[in-house]
């Protein structure tokens, strides 16, 4: 049970988010490969033009879609019929080749293909639309290449006219980049930090309720030793959890580590230290174990969404980014990601590290006296 919540739950969450994100599209006009995160989506083709060119292009669309595993294409007699299918949820998009399509092209005019997508699902809708465009771009470019060749013979490279400047990416790291590569360090940081936060809160409240805290408090030891003991124990547990999650992500999702495990360890210890004080503060405030747990949960849930764990923080509106950047989790995840993916040195992540150290001091300065006071109120 415990294992499930501490290890399997983050992994489950990570796998869901990892698969939800469409990977970076690897379309390449030169090789004609488009690539998709959602293979074989059902779409309908409505052909309102029966000209030779229209038929040819429709056939090319079907062929490319099926070859590349983008869509399974069915043909519909009318737009209304296709629309009914889309409303029923049987198809995800409609491609319409309108009347006059062939005539326009034969007359040397650009022609338009119309698209309707299932707008109840924005993610699928945008994927379907962009992939349909990509397929027609592909068809279109081979047509232009042909046209240029017809006009100019072999004197010019058609690519020079169609796309005089192109962009290619030099990979920052060798190997495959995937959503998991982004998610795994974040989840590691999340698990370690929230795990120890909750662990400390729970452990202290449990001892209070159980009565053993009295045994510790009545012994001639300073209160900060009690706190530090709890923190140390929960940090070790958090670290084991974090590395287990990293290990599982390597095995299950092919996540690769390029950086030093020692620096990773330093970042994780600092990440924990930066936030564990908050757990102590909550324990000091909360009257019982349940309330303490509730409070940590309320804190940790939004933190998961706005600290750049599940998606990059840049996707958030400005004010939310500020809140996200106020969370130590953001810096721990950021540093960990740089170390794991980019093999960053300790110097390279120094700003993150310094912020985490400042957080540690701030929270601990508040937490220790507060704990002291709460224990003998």
């Amino acid at each position: 049970m415990l294992l499930f919540f501490f290890i399997l739950f983050p992994i489950l969450l990570m796998s869901m988010f990892g698969y939800i994100y469409p990977p970076v599209p690897k379309s390449n006009l030169n090789t004609g490969s488009i690539g998709t995160a959602f293979p074989n989506l059902p779409v309908s083709l409505v052909k309102m033009d029966d000209g030779q060119t229209a038929n040819l292009i429709a056939a090319q669309f079907i062929q490319i879609s099926q070859q590349q595993g983008l869509f399974t294409v069915s043909e519909s007699a009318s737009y209304q019929a296709a629309r009914n299918q889309l409303v029923l949820g049987n198809i995800k998009g409609i491609v319409i080749i309108p009347q006059g399509f062939s005539d326009a092209l034969v007359a040397g005019q650009p022609a338009t293909v119309q698209v309707t997508v299932d707008e109840t699902n924005p993610t699928t809708a945008s994927v379907v639309q962009s992939e349909i465009s990509a397929v027609f771009n592909l068809i279109g470019s081979s047509m232009s290449a042909q046209n240029i060749h017809n006009m100019d013979g072999d004197r010019v490279n058609p690519a020079f006219i169609m796309q005089p400047i192109s962009v290619t990416r030099i990979p920052l790291i060798n190997g495959v980049s995937s959503s998991f590569q982004f998610l795994a360090p974040g989840f590691m940081a999340l698990t370690v930090i929230t795990g120890s936060l909750q662990g400390v809160a729970t452990a202290i409240s449990r001892e209070k309720e159980q009565g053993t805290m009295d045994g510790l408090l009545v012994a001639p030891i300073p209160h900060r030793s009690i706190i530090l003991g709890k923190v140390a124990a929960q940090t070790v547990r958090g670290l084991i959890q974090g590395f287990l999650i990293l290990g599982l992500s390597m095995v299950l999702f092919g996540v690769q580590i390029y950086g030093s495990p020692i620096i990773m360890l330093i970042v994780m210890v600092l990440g924990t230290a930066s936030f564990v004080g908050v757990g102590i503060i909550m324990t000091a405030i909360a009257p019982d174990q349940e309330t303490a747990q509730m409070m940590t949960l309320i804190l940790q849930f939004p933190m998961m969404f706005i600290s750049g764990i599940l998606f990059p923080i840049d996707q958030l509106p400005g004010w939310m980014q500020y809140i996200g950047k106020a969370m130590p989790l953001y810096y721990a995840a950021d540093a960990l990601r740089k170390v794991i993916i980019l093999n960053a040195s300790l110097v390279a992540i120094m700003p993150d590290v310094l912020i985490l150290i400042v957080y540690t001091f701030l929270t601990m300065t508040i937490a220790i006296p507060l704990f002291d006071k709460a224990m003998r109120r």
Binding site: K208, Q210, G211, T212, M213, D214, G215, L216, L217, V218, A219, P220, I221, P222, P287, D288, A374, M375, R376, R377
Partner: protein, 271 residues
């Protein structure tokens, strides 16, 4: 570090002294200007209905709660200013057992003993002796979680005396125990007195207080109602039972409401 008693408080005949000791939780006064004087080596029965302020007073003396006003010294040390010195001198058996159910009897003793910086080998020897004294040697390596309440309380009591505290606070040590264990614990308390410990004992069982205490202090609504030997109190009120004395002083009405008041107004006080 050697222990230095303060100039102000030389080794007196009193192990515990309080002057106007008061604890308020919000507007509720749990302990109201209490003056106590517990003599060295005596068993001091601390009696009162639920919510009378016994536990609050004991928790202040153990440095687990800070007093609102007044002062108190335990073995000559001020409970506010010299908390750490006080803690070295006292042992506590509180209402809740101070023991980790997931550790064995011996592990519990070793853990708590180490908090007093008792050297490991000496501690093990001492723990085993004490376990033998309470007849738990065969169970020393068993998890405390599986113990009966009587067995647990025996471990709990010896845990409190591992470091040979001068003063021992026993808060209802026989509550919830079967007659055999009750007898055993009472004899244990007498034995501890023989070993020279000063004992502050709270109990709701008047015959227990009568049997064990050298003197009893009856407290109600945070105030002291009477302090004397059980015999003197019985003589004074012309009865043969301490229970009659107690009921005469504290009344016969039930005290559920007072108890509720404490838990409502002072949720933090009982940590």
């Amino acid at each position: 570090m050697t222990l230095q008693r303060t100039e102000l408080a030389p080794l007196s005949e009193y192990a515990i002294e309080t002057h106007g000791l008061t604890k308020k939780f919000g507007s509720f006064t749990a302990v109201d200007h209490v003056d106590l004087a517990v003599r060295r080596g005596e068993i001091y029965g601390f009696l009162g209905p639920n919510g009378a302020g016994k536990t609050t007073a004991i928790r202040m003396l153990c440095t687990l709660l800070s007093p609102t006003s007044g002062s108190a010294s335990v073995d000559g040390y001020d409970i506010v200013k010299q908390g750490n010195d006080v803690r070295k001198k006292i042992g506590l058996v509180s209402e809740k057992m101070i023991m980790y159910p997931r550790l064995t009897a011996l592990e519990n003793l070793m853990f708590f003993g180490r908090l007093y910086r008792i050297e490991r080998n000496a501690l093990r020897k001492k723990s085993e002796e004490l376990l033998e004294m309470v007849k738990l040697t065969p169970f020393k390596d068993k998890l405390v979680g599986g113990f009966s309440s009587g067995m647990r309380q025996r471990v709990n009591v010896i845990r409190a005396i591992l470091h040979d505290p001068d003063i021992l606070f026993l808060d209802e040590p026989t509550t919830g125990l079967d007659p055999q264990s009750t007898r055993f614990v009472r004899d244990l308390v007498k034995g501890l007195k023989q070993r020279g410990h000063t004992i502050v004992l709270t109990t709701h069982i008047m015959e227990e207080a009568d049997e064990l205490s050298d003197r009893v202090c009856i407290i109600d609504h945070g105030k002291i109602m009477a302090v004397d030997t059980p015999q003197a109190l019985k003589d004074k009120y012309n009865t043969s039972s301490l229970l009659e004395v107690f009921l005469g002083l504290t009344g016969r009405e039930l005290r559920d409401s007072a108890n509720e008041r404490i838990s409502m107004r002072a949720p933090m006080g009982r940590m």
